[in-house]
Point group: C2
Chain length 204, copies 2
Amino acid sequence: MTQGRDPLEQLIKMLSRLPGVGVKTATRLAFHLVTAPKEYPAALAHALTEVAERVGPCKVCGNFTAEKLCRICSDPRRDDATLCVVSRVQDLLALERSGGFRGRYHVLHGLLSPLDGVGPEDINIASLLDRVAADGDLPGPVTEVILAISPSVEGETTLLYLTSLLGELVPRVTRIAAGVPIGEDLEYTDQVTLGRALADRREM
Amino acid sequence: MTQGRDPLEQLIKMLSRLPGVGVKTATRLAFHLVTAPKEYPAALAHALTEVAERVGPCKVCGNFTAEKLCRICSDPRRDDATLCVVSRVQDLLALERSGGFRGRYHVLHGLLSPLDGVGPEDINIASLLDRVAADGDLPGPVTEVILAISPSVEGETTLLYLTSLLGELVPRVTRIAAGVPIGEDLEYTDQVTLGRALADRREM
């Protein structure tokens, strides 16, 4: 099993490259796969090949899709007037699970981070501006851009940058509320979040 | 992403069948794979296919191999006179890592468990007896069988059963020592292990 060309050894090596998977976990997974009915590793291999060959970013919004347009961009029932900007596809999926949004999305695939050398040209900002831009003298179709970006340091930088750019192009630019999560004890909420929840208080 | 035929959704489903991997972890792994350079998911798929198509039990000892005989059975430098019996291939690999054994192995692929309906015919015991059996009037090549089986309830059942069978076929049947692990505080060692360590004490 220590020969480099052994298939089981090779599988352990490949699995241990997954995030959060060390050699011990990879070995456990590989033994599960080698003792499972052959259909299972074959189906997993097929799913991986399909993802590698067919899945890429949607030409419009950046969501992952096996088609030219993603499921949301190609859905005629979604509201074209509201555009929700997220940093990652995972955030888009989380918002979809909440069921609270029926507009379109735009995925930045990153956040601005001057310290790490990530500038506006490194994330999907140009295509966002194209989507909301006015068409000649006519206003663009988007009337509200919702920035669904988590308020980290990079998030705040990106929020400020996008707000300044979008403010001239779109009637309304909003950000999702920051505050105390539903069901969380105030005692255990961090002070920055509590401060924001106080400042953003609403009338009953 | 909620359509059944979406490749990414399908990959998440397949990954979440791995032991210890729930839907959240599977989603995290799938997003890592979809954003990684295409070579990585392709190489992982290839490794899985190789394992599914080529790896099976060694015809002699039961170790996993892509050849007819495993690396250890086909190694002429190993000692034919000593045979180490393990329950799982993982245990064989652990013993190989210890570097303390230069004989041959036999993998049972299970332990006797009368309560779960696992009897001698369900694990590789018949092939073990064939390997150690005398050839006519001549003694068999194996002079010692080492039972490297962990002392659980099923382990003890298997140890007793194998000892009674092998005692008539092999000059020497031994089991690996049970005792306090190197570096462990006696304070934290369970009482059964401490009792065994006391009973099996050796002269200094």
